[in-house]
Subunit: 474 residues, 2 copies
Amino acid sequence: MPAGNLLRQPDTTLPHRLARSASTERDALHSTEELLSWLAERGAAQLHDVRRIPFAELHKWRFDDATGDLGHDSGKFFRVQGLRVQTDHGPVRSWTQPIINQPEIGILGVLAREIDGVLHFLMQAKTEPGNVNGVQLSPTVQATRSNYTRVHEGGAVPHLAHFRDASERQVLSDVLQSEQGSWFFRKRNRNMVVEASGPVEEHEDFRWMTLGQLHRLLAVDNLVNMDSRTVLSCVPGGFEGAAEEPGELAAALARSGDPRSGTLHTTAEIRSWITARQSEHLVRTDLIPLHGVRRWRRTADEIRHELGAFFTVLAVDVRSNSREVGGWTQPLLRPHGTGVVALLVTRVDGVLHALVNARVEPGYLDVVELAPTVQCTPENYEGLGVDYRPPFLDEVLRRDPGQVLFDTELSEEGGRFYQARNRYQIIEVAPEAADGAPPDFRWLTLHQLTELLKHSHYVNVQARSLVACLRGLR
Amino acid sequence: MPAGNLLRQPDTTLPHRLARSASTERDALHSTEELLSWLAERGAAQLHDVRRIPFAELHKWRFDDATGDLGHDSGKFFRVQGLRVQTDHGPVRSWTQPIINQPEIGILGVLAREIDGVLHFLMQAKTEPGNVNGVQLSPTVQATRSNYTRVHEGGAVPHLAHFRDASERQVLSDVLQSEQGSWFFRKRNRNMVVEASGPVEEHEDFRWMTLGQLHRLLAVDNLVNMDSRTVLSCVPGGFEGAAEEPGELAAALARSGDPRSGTLHTTAEIRSWITARQSEHLVRTDLIPLHGVRRWRRTADEIRHELGAFFTVLAVDVRSNSREVGGWTQPLLRPHGTGVVALLVTRVDGVLHALVNARVEPGYLDVVELAPTVQCTPENYEGLGVDYRPPFLDEVLRRDPGQVLFDTELSEEGGRFYQARNRYQIIEVAPEAADGAPPDFRWLTLHQLTELLKHSHYVNVQARSLVACLRGLR
């Protein structure tokens, strides 16, 4: 008979350790000012010269004659294909579009370790060709399978072994999450936080920092990259409202993250609502040859919609001194305009609730995911009728300065998207707003979102960014 | 400011109400003997004459000239297409096969209500053309979208409105679950249990029964149908081991269903293991024309594999006096041989654990789902080498009678499958077995399985059947 100590209990110390990290700024290993200087210094040191080129100058990337698809000679990385969408949902019921197909699952991993009793996270100063500003703060590891199986013949990915070889007791979070469903076909990445066992190599592009420092840096425009935000959002909660100098909002956040607090809808009801939204919407998607996409034109240096709307596919030449390979060319997707990504929140009896939208995007594996209250590029809707107007967009555009809890421009993944900026906002509205919601919207607490984030396919990448930001408010 | 009673807490009474239902047999509305007589009587009354016919005699079903696909003229119901599978997993890395494509999400719904203070469930005596024995015990509602939007011009589905119009507080469980991933392409059904508000119409094909009675009936060969079993498996747990006359096993089951009990792996570790299995396996599936499937032959009355293995697609003519339409023809899939579906369980410090397998099937939406320890048709492996031998099959075949906790032949869905029988078994092994498991296997408690069953895509339909059976042991 095995000994009694075979049976284990969940780790109840982790929320406390995370709260301690969230409330540590001054006593962190490096001051926040030092981190900002280091980032600026790495930005200057990492030569990253990005130049738009015609498609004909792409090296090892080519358009397939038969299909028109744009892919890499190795068959790896990703492929720009066509997608046909048919749905019974929304004002437009059928369309075709280019889409990025990247079936491989990559790793977005952040290494954690206690330094002087406080959890610190190892973040990387990393340049991506699509970044608006060169260097951004990235996870410890950000690797596609092609990266780490060395398709482009570069050096090994630093720190990767910590994630590939982690024992189950070192893993703090580990979940597949989707990315942009309008631009990617069923892309998922593995979002991991692993506590290091044994020594971690020092490297000038990496620095340890606390959760409190990361929360502070999230409020800086285009600094914490998308991959870092999604990994942070998947960390188990329980530290909401913890900060070195908690403000007026902290108590409402702490209650929102507390499993014992009441909620407007029970978690069973929220799951049933999601099941109903998934069942109600018929969405059929088929990958088609890029040649078969209507109303999009390919020129020598762009694939674009005939109205100039939505996005463009373009090509860049990259010269770098900091990456596994010194230089390369690749396609990127450039969205048009700056998006609005906004979460309305309110306090119901002192418990913060956030209004999420069960949103259909064609690239989702499972029909709908929960999105922020508003997620759109307003200029795509100019001149269109009121039926096309995204719900709650006007509430966001006409907000009062006093309602704004968070307002920062953040970028989407610079390895696939060219200068994709969104203005991420968290806006507090009067509690009366929680009296009802349209069928595709529901008010959830942070604890409810945190529980859903332990699983795939529930919370979309934009909402995950806002969860990371919301938890860090004070 | 909204009133304090806006905020709600999870329903903590439901596990107790379910336990009371599970421990009620003699004081149920009808005795179990009456239910068995009623089933026999309905079986005799429901004329259901099923005759195999050549494909040419199918009415409104035809093979598409261009693709060879077999579909209905309305474009509804389902379609037999081809599937191409490429994977880096298992002994066979690439194949093509016929597959049923049924993109619509149907409802499998069981209505519940308290009768004399005890929850009863409204079950239906229903004949399906593929059933080995005519009538089986089915959910209150078992309806595809084509059914309830009346594609075949039959009568309305009884009791459907209870599910379509349920308010959130009446819903006891509601989750999308997959079905057979070897036979269906990404099929899901909505598994619902709804507590009736207001009167429920009486009907000779329906009877109220307790969970304890359902547990008793699960042990009868080919009686409780697949749809009932999957709906039951998704009911929140907390009633494990409850029975009118609990036996020696009850305490180990109760501990296994208790969230406070220790587990061999924490739930976070189990989720990480699933994430790793999903990430490790590359599985690419593409629907292709049925014409493009190699090594399968279509004759006048069958589509079959050249070795006679796996399954056959055939056609039947059905005459019925009990269904929405009096008679129809349709294709069915007939598996070859009786399958073995077995779960190894063991007690670790008195807490029952079950050994599940992270299994790749091509029709899953998300690469792997948790399957029973063994799920195969042994005759498909005869004459093949040891590399092909399913792990743990020999432990199941060579079991000792004293190890058998459950052993019942149960059928798969008779509306799609022709006499698809599996021998479902639960076999207890010595605790030393829990000392380790191959990478694709893990020991889980019932509580851990119950938590995963609140979400889609985790537990496959065969494992769900065994969860329903396991919870009902005593």
